[in-house]
Symmetry: C2
Subunit: 356 residues, 2 copies
């Protein structure tokens, strides 16, 4: 195995000292980059791109080549897992993802398989292996999965939704059915992430995009508990190094204390929580990742720098912070503004890591 | 003036003793009711309905006639104010609202008028007067407005949006411009609500639909502070009775302490905050309104009753609770399920108001 040249990101996730705050950007391989749009055009469509390990590697490396980022993240989609479970994923032009076979009944749930990572999902594992080779130890590679609840919400709804009424309808009316579906997803997601770790992912992240739509009680039961069970099943060591786990519930700022007890090493934060306040709440139990509003990148480089300064200062002195946006970068962002963000973190963060 | 026969709602907002927990439902006059759909068909479209005081009165009274609710709410739309400021509101079939003339520049903001409630917005004041007559003292009438930030977000964006990038772009890049717009909206909203109070509104509510999209710092500056200034300008007494003010920031559960110091008498809660926890946080400074997930109404009457029991129990014994959903009722809900909700609150809540 190639030696890892920049382990700042992994060290920060384990709350170990670093020289400056590491940075990566959610959706850093994305439509705001002209080189991404060129590769995607070559692939024909988004799903073809996800299913082609060479092109996945190409787009995963693009932001690493362009910017001074401290981690790469597997280019893929959270809906690969339900697709491999037989739901028939499609992306229709100008709309979001949609499943041909949504899950609605006990019989639908019974017949769902637990996908073999090296079977139906081998294209993802191949992408991980190809990217690791392509990275050649420059920065660590993050693997990821949607959380069981987030995947269940899409699988029952059949598509994206403002409030996932069908999924919540099942949860409220037939909670035992929703738990059965979540059980299958816990197994599928754990196997999927373990597959990615075995293939070379050096950290993994659970994206709980829709946990924030739940009440506190339902969040704990239907979103956090399944994530906790996934994490408990992960093989968290590879190549002689701990594989840290990050958990991100969009809109989950009210539940950080519970999330910090889930087994995750780091929590992702959106921008609705002050990161200094979050740090006081979770203490030194977990690292924190975030949390600039992606819309700040529409503003001038000077304003971007001020926002970076404000977030670094809110987190304060010491280790355990990974800089990121609080959600994925928007397609309309000027890459020059991303460069300004990267430069600001590089220049302003060392002061927070200097010996006291 | 007719004597108010049921003042349970107003008393609860002022944290005075009541015999049972009062209940109303956000969007209670809406598409889930066949009688509403019939009136709307008669009006031709949504804007015609909003601009016709007699039909507004008709739909406002429909849920009061059908269910045992403790308050009526003016049928209108939060975008009447920007429309009266010259933005040209339109509702296009199958889409949301859209403005013909969005606000983008300093010149756009300079030329915005402060609408006269009895001028361009007289149709709303007429609706308030007509509804008060129609209600004949059965229950109090709630007036309302969008919050300055929520209106500004629509006015800059020009339409609804997932993350209001244009509005946030102005806020991040030209905060002084956003504040200028908010100043005009503070004046407009205060005049609008005072007009409604003078016309007969017995309580008023600020709907801050998009405050939850902000960071804590930006929420305090761009959403809460303008609401505080609106509230400070309100004439909060009418017909010898205090006119309580409710404030509802969707997704604002992290900021309840600050909201409780804004001058509002009551805070609306969405379902992502436990109402008992919220009560502990705000103490006896404000009443609380909420907070059942509207999606619960898709479940069976038995499950609805369980959820009502759970929320009543979370709030606990004593006054200061107004039962409501945590967001507007969905168009697809079966009115029989609403009847089950009403019955559950009526039957289960008196126990929480019995003398200790």
């Amino acid at each position: 195995m190639t030696e890892l040249k920049n382990d700042r990101f992994l060290r920060a996730l384990m709350r170990q000292p670093v020289d400056r705050t590491p940075l990566w950007i959610m959706r850093q391989a994305g439509r705001y980059l002209p080189e991404y749009r060129a590769t995607r055009a070559k692939a024909g469509n988004f799903l073809n791109l996800c299913k082609n390990p060479e092109l996945c590697c190409e787009v995963t490396l693009q932001p690493i080549d362009r910017f001074d980022l401290d981690a790469a993240i597997l280019f893929s989609d959270i809906l690969t897992v339900p697709d491999a479970m037989g739901l028939g994923l499609g992306f229709h032009e100008g709309e979001g993802p949609r499943f041909a076979n949504p899950v609605r009944t006990a019989a639908d749930i019974d017949k769902l398989p637990i996908p073999d990572p090296e079977g139906e999902l081998r294209y993802v594992m191949d992408a991980v292996r190809t990217i690791r080779e392509g990275l050649d130890g420059r920065v660590p590679l993050i693997g990821f999965s949607g959380s069981p609840w987030t995947l269940a919400a899409y699988m029952v709804e059949g598509e994206g939704s403002r409030d996932f009424s069908k999924a919540k309808g099942m949860m409220f009316d037939r909670p035992e059915l929703m738990e059965k579906l979540l059980d299958k997803l816990v197994q599928s997601v754990a196997a999927y992430l373990n597959g990615q770790i075995a293939a070379g992912a050096q950290a993994v992240m659970l994206f709980d995009t829709w946990g924030g739509l739940l009440s506190p009680r339902d969040y704990l039961r239907f979103s956090l508990e399944p994530m906790r069970r996934v994490i408990a099943q992960l093989k968290r060591e590879n190549e002689g190094r701990k594989v840290p786990v990050m958990m991100f519930t969009k809109g989950g700022g009210q539940w950080l204390e519970a999330m910090a007890d889930s087994g995750a090493d780091a929590l992702g934060l959106d921008w609705t929580t002050d990161i200094g306040e979050a740090r006081r709440r979770v203490g030194d139990r977990v690292a924190l990742q975030g949390n600039m509003d992606p819309n700040v990148l529409y503003a001038s480089p000077e304003r971007i720098r001020e926002e970076v300064a404000s977030i670094l200062s809110a987190y304060g002195h010491g280790h355990g912070h990974v800089f990121n946006l609080g959600h994925g970068i928007h397609p309309g962002i000027n890459p020059e503004h991303v460069a300004a963000l990267v430069q600001a973190v590089r220049e302003l963060s060392p002061a927070y890591h200097a010996p006291a």
